[in-house]
């Protein structure tokens, strides 16, 4: 288990852009996929030094726009460069409208053993509002294809806090999703950057604004319902059947090292966080054979900040942070170092502590930012 690293591969292509999206992804650039795959291989070759690999996550964008051949090339390269055990978790994010059974079967055979389907909603009206290009019928089909192709670890993404969506509609959506019996569920509140089309529609008054109280209501409903359906709530936004927690994402929450390749991908290695360029053309140009390639930014995370990040990310997990673990890793006794913060937050009902660990309360999970910022070190430049 020593020296393990997780690998994230960003695939920044989409058929069209969703109305809420501010991820790094490009529509109408699918012709560049071959060149992009070359660049990915080049970056991997440059940056991988035979580390032990624990997981692979192909995220996007829409990674399912890659052909099985292209996927195969990437995964073969990875196998060559890393030291890989058989049990590595390999996740592919897929858009329900882009997959069929032969494709998923091929992908499964390449060693992808976890499929994350961007279902987002089980309500067609909502899908339209979000600008998703698939229907709920396509979502059910995709689930069927996945099962038929042999995927036994299936995750579904759903969004709540949708403008104008009632609690009843949300409950119905959840129920439909659970009927697919996914091993894993990620529920994300809709959050909009200033410049996305859905936000403009809200500003113009064509769509009602996001109602934070309704969003909170829907979250708590989901918590109760999923618990009754035997899903373990293991992170603020994630639920899984026992044993099906996403190993790749655990790396982020535990602040363990990861390598991210592709446009705008981030890495965290030896206390440094690096980020690649956000521009597709620049990335393809940069990671060409013979070209000098390097991440665009490289930030050294100071020990103080590492501590803060470990707490902020760690508290996202429902099991919270074990005092002993933390002490082992950072040499810091949480209760004495942050005694004042912990007391204040306990009084506010946002966190709870036991002899062994500290974690968010139910209320705290909805108000996490109020907890997190208190653990940040003082900024030097103020």
């Amino acid at each position: 288990m020593t020296n393990e690293i997780a690998l994230y591969i960003h695939v920044p292509f989409c058929r069209s852009r969703c109305n809420y999206c501010s991820f790094v992804s490009f529509a109408g650039r699918e012709a560049d996929i071959p060149a992009y795959v070359n660049a990915l291989e080049k970056e991997l070759t440059e940056r991988v030094k035979g580390e032990n690999l624990s997981s692979i996550f192909l995220g996007g964008g829409t990674p399912s726009l890659l052909s099985s051949d292209q996927l195969s090339r990437i995964l073969t390269t990875t196998q060559k460069l890393f030291n890989m055990s058989k049990t590595v978790e390999v996740t592919l994010e897929a858009n329900p409208g882009t997959v069929d059974e032969p494709y998923l079967t091929a992908v499964r055979q390449l060693g992808v053993n976890r499929l994350s389907l961007g279902v987002q909603s089980m309500d067609n009206e909502t899908l339209m509002l979000l600008g998703r290009t698939h229907s709920t019928a396509q979502a059910s089909q995709a689930v069927q294809f996945a099962r038929n192709s042999g995927f036994t670890n299936l995750s579904l993404d759903l969004m709540y806090g949708i403008p104008g969506q009632s609690l009843a509609t949300w409950q119905d959506i959840l129920k439909k999703a659970v009927q697919f019996e996914p091993e894993h569920l990620s529920l994300y509140p809709l959050s909009l950057e200033d410049d996305v089309p859905l936000n403009s529609a809200i500003r113009r008054g064509e769509t009602p604004p996001i109602d934070p109280d309704q969003t909170a209501e829907q979250y708590e409903t989901a918590e109760d319902y999923l618990a009754s359906e035997d899903y373990v709530h293991y992170e603020i936004s994630n639920w899984a059947r026992e044993g099906f927690q996403c190993r790749h994402n655990m790396v982020y929450w535990q602040c363990l090292p990861y390598l991210g390749v592709g446009v705008a991908a981030h890495s965290y290695i030896d206390g440094h966080r690096q980020a690649n360029t956000h521009y597709l053309d620049e990335y393809i140009r940069m990671f060409q054979p013979g070209a000098l390639c390097h991440p665009e930014t490289d930030e050294e995370i100071k020990p103080e900040t590492q501590l803060a990040e470990a707490i902020i990310m760690g508290l996202r997990l429902n099991c919270g942070i074990e005092f002993a673990d933390f002490k082992d890793r950072f040499g810091v006794d949480l209760t004495s170092r942050y005694g004042q913060e912990i007391e204040e937050l306990t009084q506010l009902g946002l966190i709870e502590t036991s002899d062994q660990s500290i974690r968010l309360t139910r209320r705290g999970r909805l108000l996490g930012n109020e907890v997190f910022w208190r653990f940040l070190p003082e900024c030097e430049d103020s």
């Binding site: 994230y8 965290y268 996490g368 900024c379």
Partner: protein, 606 residues
């Protein structure tokens, strides 16, 4: 130089009619500066003046001009501010001049301050040169405005100079008119020195720089001088004129406009309006001065962080060195800690002082609701002056309460008389007089009129000016002048945030308006205070009686969604921003109130 070749004049006008732009053209024409060096409104040298596009402080500048008659004239030009808050600057610069160029915007015609300024200039017997500006604009209506000038001000349209201060058209004719019409100064160089201080600023090296008009006698570097009223004596460290930078001269003679560096440490030691004479064998008779401008509007200024009090103290001291019309004295508030009760000429002045303090001294400030000066006679017979609403005594001990009233004049197309009349009535105004300006109608807007009212000064300290603009679709202009004190019946309205009385929000209102004002204030606060971890009641009260209430519900959700592709840094930065944001809040009990809330609430109409 022969005094007969000197012309001292100022440029006066309603706000934005183009005074500073005209000054640019005059500077350019007379070769005072090269064309390239002239940025727009070059005399507006303060950052704030440039950003806001307005003149705040009057400026004197000397120009040399070769006239058509072949003589070289010395022109001393003073650009003045147009905003009503700074009217006193105009009246004092008039005392340094023999002539005034009255600029009237050809798209707007005569406005409230046009009238206010011209009346003062006439009282002082100045030669007035009316000028029609902005004739290059498509919206210009020269004929109509000339008719207005003729019928209201009595000038023959033939004698009005039409110009564009932007393109320079007509400006050569204007300078000739200045040389021809403005009388040369008449002082006597042989008589004992008498010079009038019409403005000043503080220079860290040379002390107070007094802007003066020499009436009789002369001044040279090293002269020992005396201020006749204040009896201060000092040596002239430097003398000269502005071109527009200060430029040293050997001497200033009777009829000249220029500056003297006094070495004095505070503007208070060298008051504007005083007469300068020689320390020995000085003049006997002082020049007619003018009363220094008195602050009319008061507000508390507090540091957001109590630790910044010392910084605020030294900043207010420094700022007041350069601004004699700004007053301050220490006060303290149970919630805001130590600060100052400051006096201003008006709301624009207040806003400018606040911005300069924050910007030039890197402070973060909270400004309380502006107030006027109340004179209160208690039942005990004792009289007290109150400039802070929290100090208003209980109604039961007040025998008599008096507050300042102003006479206001509004110039507007007749179409808006109704809405404006209504607005004035809502604000406790009393109608006095209507006067039609000119004969021509503005089409469907009707003819232009000047409306006169009396109103409590208190009523114009909120959104009155904005509402005059909005109810007249931007056409009406407003001028006002302090008139005197009148008796009133008023009460103090308090605001409680989470059961805590926030003195900064307290204001004085008429009893019948308490409910409406209270409601507006609590609703505004509900809108500007972000939701927090607990429910926050906001109440408006008179004494112990609650007149309005609004509750801010507790915040339920505030958590970041997923981090894409491991971008933990971005997540952390968002949290850092949140943390920084908290620091910018003012803690009121356990409630965090954004600084802006103070201003937003203050700006509500009463």
């Amino acid at each position: 130089m022969d005094q007969s070749l000197t012309r001292n004049f100022c440029i006066i006008a309603h706000i934005d009619h183009g005074k500073s732009t005209l000054a640019d053209r005059l500077i350019e024409m007379t070769g005072g500066m090269r064309g390239d060096d002239i940025r727009e409104q070059v005399l507006d040298s303060m950052d704030l003046e440039r950003e806001r596009g307005i003149t705040i402080k009057a400026k004197a500048i000397r120009l040399g001009y070769e006239a058509v008659d072949g003589s070289i004239y010395r022109l001393n030009l003073i650009d003045t501010p147009g905003h009503v808050d700074f009217s006193y600057e105009v009246s004092r610069t008039l005392a340094a001049c023999e002539g005034a160029v009255l600029v009237i915007d050809a798209t707007q015609g005569i406005q409230a301050q046009t009238l206010a300024h011209i009346y003062v200039a006439m009282e002082r017997d100045l030669e007035i040169i009316p000028v029609l500006n902005k004739i290059d604009l498509p919206g210009a209506e020269p004929d109509r405005v000339l008719d207005e000038i003729e019928s209201v001000l009595g000038y023959d349209p033939q004698t009005v100079v039409s110009i564009s201060a932007k393109t320079g058209e007509g400006v050569p004719e204007l300078v000739e008119a200045i040389v021809r019409c403005v009388p040369a100064p008449k002082g006597d160089v042989q008589l004992p020195l008498r010079a009038l201080i019409f403005d000043s600023h503080y220079d860290p090296y040379k002390g107070v720089m007094a802007y003066i008009r020499v009436v009789d006698g002369h001044i040279f570097k090293g002269s020992n001088l005396r201020l006749m009223a204040q009896k201060t004596e000092f040596e002239v460290l430097d003398t000269g004129c502005f071109i527009p930078e200060p430029s040293s001269l050997n001497q200033l003679l009777a009829g000249d406009v220029g500056y003297i560096a006094t070495g004095l440490k505070s503007i208070g030691d060298c008051q504007v309006g005083d007469t300068v004479t020689t320390a020995s064998k000085g003049a006997k008779q002082v020049l007619e001065g003018y009363r220094p401008a008195k602050p009319m509007v008061f507000a508390g200024i507090y540091p957001t962080e109590p630790g910044e009090y010392d910084g605020l103290r030294s900043a207010t001291e420094k700022l007041s060195l350069n601004d004699a019309s700004f007053s301050y004295e220490p006060e303290s508030s149970p919630l805001l800690g130590f600060g100052f009760r400051c006096g201003f000429l008006g709301l624009l002045h207040l806003d400018i002082v606040r911005e300069r303090l924050e910007r030039e001294f890197a402070l973060s400030l909270i400004v309380t609701a502006p107030s006027v000066r109340y004179m209160i006679t208690k039942t005990s017979g004792q009289t007290v002056i109150v400039t802070n609403p929290t100090d208003l005594p209980m109604p039961t001990v007040i025998e008599k309460l008096e507050e300042p009233w102003v006479s206001i004049s509004v110039v507007t197309p007749s179409k808006f008389i109704g809405p404006l009349m209504e607005l004035v009535m809502e604000n406790e105004g009393i109608y006095k007089h209507t006067e039609y300006l000119g004969q021509q109608s503005l089409g469907e807007l009707g003819q232009r009129v000047k409306l006169e009212y009396d109103m409590p000064l208190r009523s114009i300290l909120t959104t009155f000016y904005d509402q005059v603009k909005s109810r007249s679709q931007g056409y009406a202009s407003l001028d006002y002048e302090l008139q005197g004190y009148r008796e009133s019946r008023l009460v103090k309205l308090d605001i409680m945030v989470n059961e805590l009385l926030v003195d900064a929000f307290s204001r004085v209102v008429t009893p019948n308006k308490a409910h409406d004002v209270g409601k507006a204030m609590v609703n505004k606060l509900k809108e500007v205070i972000p939701r927090q971890l607990f429910k926050i009641p906001i109440q408006a009260a008179i004494g112990s009686k609650i007149v309005a209430r609004a509750d801010i519900p507790a915040k339920r959700k505030d958590v970041l969604a997923k981090c894409y592709g491991g971008d933990v840094t971005r997540k952390r930065k968002l949290l850092e921003k949140q943390k920084e944001g908290k620091k910018k809040m003012k803690q009121i009990g356990s409630v965090e109130v954004p600084k802006e809330a103070f201003m937003d609430v203050v700006k509500l109409s009463s």
